[in-house]
Subunit: 337 residues, 2 copies
């Protein structure tokens, strides 16, 4: 039977004692298989001089078993934890995961959409960022699931996010309950859906408790430097200008920590004179002193909901559930309130 | 001239007022170009009904303008900072960067080498991990540069690392100078070159100062749980067993922080009763209380040296410099010594 070029993948599978799917994975060098399996299959292929029909192959293999993740900043633990959960999920399901970091640069994001598409990924998870997805960078029709980003590109767009509005509301109400009268919000100038929702939560909590909304206390950071530095410098600036405040709702934990350091530097005791609530629930909020009260986002749940949705879409399953999944947040009370 | 299929890339370039290289990038949907440029080029292509000769194309395009990074844990700031520096460098040079997280799983690492190779990346940077590179997973001959990993696979292997030996020596000597007599090392059971070198530095510093080497004080953590937890639990265990020590050299900052927390839980004052030195110089060492004395690794320099080497190799330049670059480390003295 040597040199019989008509051996089929099915026969290779039988001769090497593995499934046809495994033979396909070995031939395509794609997906999971052990070194042993690879050797077994390749030996049979060599023995029978099997010639891989490349045209037939590309017809048979409809997916590349890879997905891409677009993330603004993997150096931020909030994002890196989500990315790792997604990676774990997809790897277990036989997919390789390519992580692309955009540093919140729209041009870069566009470029990464383009290059993931040109690498034939089967789907993309896109975390945070602007509302519009650069669909013109993607030539194929592949599923995209967003986390913490309300996509505009498609009426049937699918996204998973924390309850940012409620988070903003709860953070502000916590400060009001602890007696704060002049509550500052440290947010970002960039118009992202998450920032808008948290700001809405802040203003609605103030209204509910009959606190005036003071534009001087809505501080929008540029995002050009690190969250920590921008926030620390903003608080120093406000103190110098003599703007009075006794509560700070920082829209992420690094901003909260920046504020805490600035108050320490100015000998303003926390929580006695000024109280702080952060957002995200990452380690810095737990490990600094005093530990920071924060709104906890359930990163694992966010990741798994998004990953599960994307996999279903890739596999062509009907998505019966809602196209917009909201994950609850919770308040963790610590030393700064 | 409509429907003239013989128009060349050079003519397209002239007609759209851009370079041939730019036309190539647009056609291949690869590398940098503006939306305007894309439109200009595509309009000319449509106008003249240019048919892309795919075979000729793949001959002309020798690189895919993508690189891969294999990283053990992007949730560790030490790694994520290096990855971000490399990404920035390559993006500026017109490359997309695919980050692959292995969670220190050898099978996963092997799989990511394979899938990066199948996506035709032009080169790979590989951070930390075992000494052997799974070369059998890579079918093409592409350059690989390692960081903090001494590769075995090739006598001409190129790697960049911190001076781990000196770091281990300096950390131990700092503890000796501050009066410690029984110095514990918290290291890892996995045989990685960086661990070996730091351990060698530790034993040599003890020998130099005529301190005995006590096997009970060489604690090898399994790496199955987080650095923080393993280290915290190991110190609790040693305290329960009544093993005496007055200094801890923790081979990374999360382990140092875990040790600090365990000592706090046991009401053992730091640095009065036990002193601690960490390794890496990441934020946790700076932000915890007391802040941790540590051996600082120059992450930016490590990243840029490795990235620059890889780019030179991809571009086929002669590498005249040493194949093994060692970046100096430094001691940052803080509250724990």
């Amino acid at each position: 039977m040597n040199n019989n070029k008509n051996i089929s993948m099915k026969e290779i599978a039988e001769l090497s004692g593995v499934s046809v799917a495994t033979v396909s994975r070995v031939i395509n060098n794609n997906g999971r298989f052990s070194e042993d399996t690879r050797k077994k299959v390749m030996d049979i292929i060599k023995e029978y001089d099997y010639t891989i029909n490349m045209a037939a192959k590309s017809l048979r293999v409809s997916t590349s078993k890879t997905i891409g993740i677009i993330v603004p900043d993997i150096n931020n633990e909030f994002f890196s934890e989500i990315v790792l959960e997604i990676e774990k999920f997809f790897f277990t399901n036989g997919y390789s995961v390519f992580i692309c970091n955009t540093s919140q640069d729209d041009m870069k994001e566009r470029e990464y959409f383009r290059s993931l598409d040109s690498k034939l990924v089967d789907g993309i998870i896109c975390i945070s960022g602007r509302e519009d997805i650069p669909v013109d960078s993607i030539k194929r029709k592949i599923p995209i699931v967003c986390i913490d980003r309300k996509p505009k590109y498609d009426s049937s767009a699918i996204y998973v996010e924390s309850d940012h509005y409620l988070g903003g509301f709860m953070a502000t109400e916590e400060l009001i309950k602890k007696g704060c009268k002049h509550i500052l919000i440290l947010t970002k100038s960039k118009s992202l859906s998450v920032n808008k929702q948290r700001l809405d939560g802040y203003t609605d909590a103030l209204k509910k408790h009959n606190h005036p909304i003071d534009d001087k206390l809505i501080v929008k950071l540029s995002g050009n430097r690190s969250n920590f530095e921008e926030s620390r410098d903003a608080i120093n600036y406000l103190l110098k200008k003599g703007i009075a405040f006794d509560g700070i709702f920082a829209s992420n934990d690094w901003r909260a920590y920046g504020a805490l350091v600035a108050l320490n530097q100015n000998q303003i005791p926390v929580p006695e004179k000024v109280k702080i609530v952060g957002f995200d629930g990452i380690s810095v909020s737990k490990y600094c002193y005093p530990a920071i009260t924060t709104i906890y986002q359930d990163k694992k749940n966010l990741a798994l909901e998004a990953a599960d949705l994307l996999l279903s879409l890739i596999e062509g399953k009907n998505i019966n559930s809602s196209q917009h999944i909201v994950i609850p947040v919770s308040l963790i009370e610590r030393g700064t309130t």
